[in-house]
């Protein structure tokens, strides 16, 4: 396959960025999207051009490091996968592919396709936990959790923190991310003692980081590589309302 790549290049967070155009030949349909970028970088290095910086690590869709906009969609054209799981067989010979970093005010670009997602960590630090001091736990089977509830909690807990929901949202809202964590813990009995403080603190931190509000467009759910459902946002709103009136 022969491709034309239009890739966002930006030296650092202070510089202005722009698209650069690169031609790439002999791309195999069995390559992953990131392997295609590897090949491009090898070519750039041989031409003494700085390789494209992009975040990636596990390359099996679970660490949440990779995250780029591909042809205007977070993680590219296919649903329910990350950019590292996208394979070039999803493109056609002769295609032009536009590659950009996440665009959201709370996620400044650090270089090329690399952004700063530390606001998500700070939201977690404000309340995304169950306080269980090491060594204090009762026997694991002491608290029974019915199968369906455990499955529902697992659905929410599957979030990989990649930030695609924020990037896909026209308001740069982090509601899907926050709601996934709030739901995961609110569904489980272990999470109940701290549920009110948790939801209030996490939402306060989310607002402080400059994320926008949710207007229920559903873009986040459509682009989430783990197909986290927006019903979690409804649950977050209920949790928040209940906690606010207490």
């Amino acid at each position: 396959m022969k491709l034309t790549l239009k890739i966002w290049r930006q030296k650092d967070s202070k510089s202005k960025g722009d698209f650069s155009t690169y031609e790439l030949e002999s791309v195999s349909p069995d390559m992953s999207f990131l392997e295609m970028l590897d090949i491009l970088n090898e070519k750039l290095i041989s031409q003494n051009i700085d390789p494209v910086a992009f975040d990636h690590d596990c390359r099996e869709g679970i660490c949440g490091s990779c995250g780029v906009y591909i042809n205007g969609r977070a993680h590219g054209p296919k649903r329910g996968i990350t950019a590292c799981q996208l394979h070039m067989r999803s493109f056609k010979d002769g295609d032009t592919i536009w590659v950009e970093p996440w665009r959201a005010k709370p996620f400044p670009v650090l270089k090329d396709l690399v952004v700063d997602r530390s606001p998500l960590d700070r939201i977690m630090q404000s309340g995304g936990f169950i306080s269980a001091r090491t060594g204090s736990a009762p026997d694991a089977n002491a608290v029974l959790i019915d199968h369906d509830t455990a499955e529902l909690a697992m659905d929410a807990a599957a979030c990989i923190g990649c930030g695609a929901c924020v990037a896909a949202c026209k308001n740069a809202s982090a509601m899907l991310f926050v709601s996934a964590k709030v739901s995961h813990f609110a569904l489980l009995p272990q999470g109940h003692p701290e549920r009110e403080a948790r939801v209030l603190n996490m939402v306060a931190q989310m607002d402080k980081e400059g994320f926008g509000a949710c207007t229920n467009t559903g873009a986040c759910e459509a682009e989430c590589p783990k197909s986290i459902s927006i019903t979690n946002i409804a649950r977050l709103n209920r949790e928040y309302l209940k906690a606010s009136f207490k």
Binding site: D30, C58, T134, A140
Partner: protein
């Protein structure tokens, strides 16, 4: 050098209990006077950081990823073992201990393994309390599945994402401590040097991977929890960033390296598809609960798998190992897959794959049940290969997955450098020559949640630690070393990329130091690695500068270390004139092609000491004593 393992006296089941009492304590008000550096935030490092901060220590935690949540523990799929015996199927702490010592082919320390088995039950309790959504039965009780090398069901799991959920549990606990100000977190920071002052580990030099700033960090103890070194093979199931730099820098500062040649090659990975391949993807061992491994009986059978009738299939694991069947340990499964491929019976275009077939399981349990158990793995497989495993059997082949070797530690997880502790996959300790499935998560969390909080306290309470400042000349020396190395890498301005050399190293390692090894090949590997290393330092091309995000520079530093470590792995494999676990020497096999262990001469840990760049390292031995599990030929027949 005398390696003192510090194994406590007494009966095996009482050692840890007694030892905990004998360790000195740091009183609660004094803990805040101590500071600890933890490098790596996976299961071992993350759980240690959270737990030590809870206790009151001042913790500084470092990781190279942009968030602590992305450490590669996250990719562990199948599950975590614990001797809960919830299934009433005959499990016990002693049986988990026995299985692990046997599974490791009698090359692990009994005392460490027993402690691991004891702590396994606490880990599950702790994780459930943190909100880890383990799979449940309809009754609400926890569910279990089986893993290789065991005849009981003791593996707890959260779909195919157990590592993710356990790591997020530790990350949540860590996040709480960061929020409280008890942990100072340094993401996108890479440790590039260990600082040793008066013989004790007192700090590190780290590079800020965004600005390029190189800074000094001082503490009372340094904990390395930086994972394994599988990427020395270039292609492995490790994350692209997984590296050996932290433990290799410590090795070069005097920490001895235990059993570097013990590398686990995992039997069920998706085969290589071409030269562009950048990493390999594991398909969880749990699939062998229901999938059957086979190849065509005849080497030139070119029919589609669905057209090959039962009588023309060779279910070689079930045939050779009737009592464990498809659930033999990983080393056995991998070696047998290689053998059938060597015999020309491999499948797929490369002929380097065997089938993992779910046809019978789907018939027996129905597609929905299989989907519930393995849905995400099947999806992942289809994503990568464009084949639907519900309809056609998976094609799998072994790949480098885990390194049992690592820095040598005593019973307290302390290396031979006082104050330097090593946790999780980064140490050599608990798995001997082969790790059983679902035991890595167990070890990482045991080390971090339940071992280090006691043993670190014991070290600190012994006293003798002076106040330390980053102005000390050893910090200056270490920083100068780091800067010099970076400047060197940037100034070579050669003609070949870093990846070029990494791939060249990987090929030598896989061909000569891989699943099956022999003296001639190992000698050759040592020679070739030296040549590649020499050329690397003459001709590598690293563009850009230090004061920016420079991913080529990051890679160059890591590959430079792999180029040294690779040689040590080969050297260790060459001295070990026996076959055991993941280390298979062609010269030492039984008539049935099984590993022939030599307990008389090789029942020891080979611990290597660095002697200088132009000198050969020296090997020290820690002899292993087996008082409880008597070594026998491992049989899974």
């Amino acid at each position: 050098m005398k390696l003192d393992s510090k194994i406590p006296e007494g009966h095996i089941s009482e050692k840890w209990y007694k030892h905990r009492f004998q360790l000195k304590l740091v009183n609660p008000a004094n803990k805040r006077k101590y500071s600890v550096i933890i490098v790596g935030t996976g299961l071992a490092g993350g759980s240690a950081a959270a737990t030590l901060a809870e206790l009151g220590y001042n913790v500084m935690a470092f990781c190279y990823q942009d968030s602590a949540r992305r450490a590669h523990s996250i990719a562990a799929q199948g599950g975590i073992n614990a001797a809960k015996n919830y299934q009433n199927d005959g499990d016990s702490i002693y049986r988990l201990f026995y299985d692990t010592v046997k599974g490791g082919d009698y090359r692990a320390r009994e005392a460490n393994v027993h402690r691991l088995a004891e702590l396994s039950v606490n880990i599950i309790d702790q994780c459930v309390a943190q909100g880890v959504p383990f799979a449940r039965e309809y009754s609400g009780y926890l569910d279990n599945r089986s893993f290789g090398g065991a005849q009981v069901s003791r593996t707890f799991y959260a779909r195919g994402q157990t590592g993710q959920q356990l790591l997020l549990g530790a990350y949540s606990a860590l996040s709480k401590q960061i929020g409280l100000g008890n942990v100072k977190m340094f993401p996108r920071h890479e440790m590039l040097e260990l600082v040793v002052v008066n013989g004790r580990a007192r700090g590190i030099i780290a590079r800020d991977m965004v600005t390029g700033e190189i800074k000094r960090y001082a503490a009372d103890a340094v904990l390395l929890a930086t994972g394994g070194y599988g990427n020395v093979y270039y292609l492995s199931t490790n994350a692209k960033g997984s590296n050996t730099t932290a433990i290799w820098r410590a090795y070069k500062k005097g920490a001895v390296f235990g059993n570097p040649c013990f590398v686990q090659i995992h039997p069920t990975c998706i085969p290589v598809s071409g030269d562009h391949q950048s990493k390999l993807t594991l398909m969880s061992e749990s699939l062998r609960n229901d999938g059957r491994v086979w190849v065509p009986k005849s080497p030139d059978d070119s029919r589609k798998p669905s057209e090959i009738p039962e009588e023309d299939r060779d279910y070689f694991l079930e045939r050779k190992y009737p009592s464990f069947g498809n659930l033999v340990p990983r080393d056995v499964a991998s070696r047998n897959a290689k053998q059938v491929c060597d015999d020309g019976k491999g499948v797929g275009s490369s002929k380097l794959a065997v089938y993992l077939d779910f046809r019978d399981a789907i018939k027996r349990l129905g597609k929905p049940k299989i989907e519930e158990k393995y849905g995400n793995l099947f999806d992942m497989y289809e994503q990568i290969t464009a084949e639907n495993p519900y309809n056609v059997p998976m094609r799998i082949f072994p790949a480098v997955h885990y390194t049992m070797g690592g820095l040598w530690v005593d019973y307290n997880l302390m290396s031979n450098i006082p104050g330097l502790f090593v946790l999780g996959e980064a140490n050599f300790s608990d798995h001997g020559a082969n790790r059983l499935g679902a035991s890595a998560l167990m070890q990482g969390l045991a080390d971090g949640y339940f071992v280090i909080p006691y043993t670190l306290g014991g070290y600190l309470a012994e006293g003798g630690l002076d106040k330390i400042s980053t102005e000390h000349e050893e910090f200056g020396n270490a920083e100068a070393q780091t800067r010099e190395r970076i400047n060197k890498l940037l100034s070579i301005k050669g003609t070949k990329s870093v990846d070029h050399y990494h791939k060249a190293l990987g090929k030598v390692m896989w061909d000569n130091v891989g699943m099956s090894r022999n003296a001639k090949g190992l000698d050759e590997a040592i020679k070739q690695i030296k040549e590649i290393r020499y050329e690397f330092w003459q001709n590598v091309k690293v563009l850009g500068e230090n004061e920016e995000i420079n991913q080529s520079l990051e890679k160059a530093g890591r590959v430079a270390d792999f180029l040294e470590l690779g040689e040590l792995v080969a050297r260790d494999a060459l001295q070990r004139n026996e076959s055991c676990g993941g280390h298979f020497r062609e010269e030492y096999q039984t008539e049935e092609n099984e590993a022939r262990r030599d307990d008389e001469n090789f029942s020891y840990v080979g611990a290597w000491e660095y002697k200088g760049d132009d000198q050969e390292p020296e090997m020290h031995k820690e002899n292993l004593a087996f008082e409880y599990v008597k070594p026998s030929q491992r049989s899974y027949k």
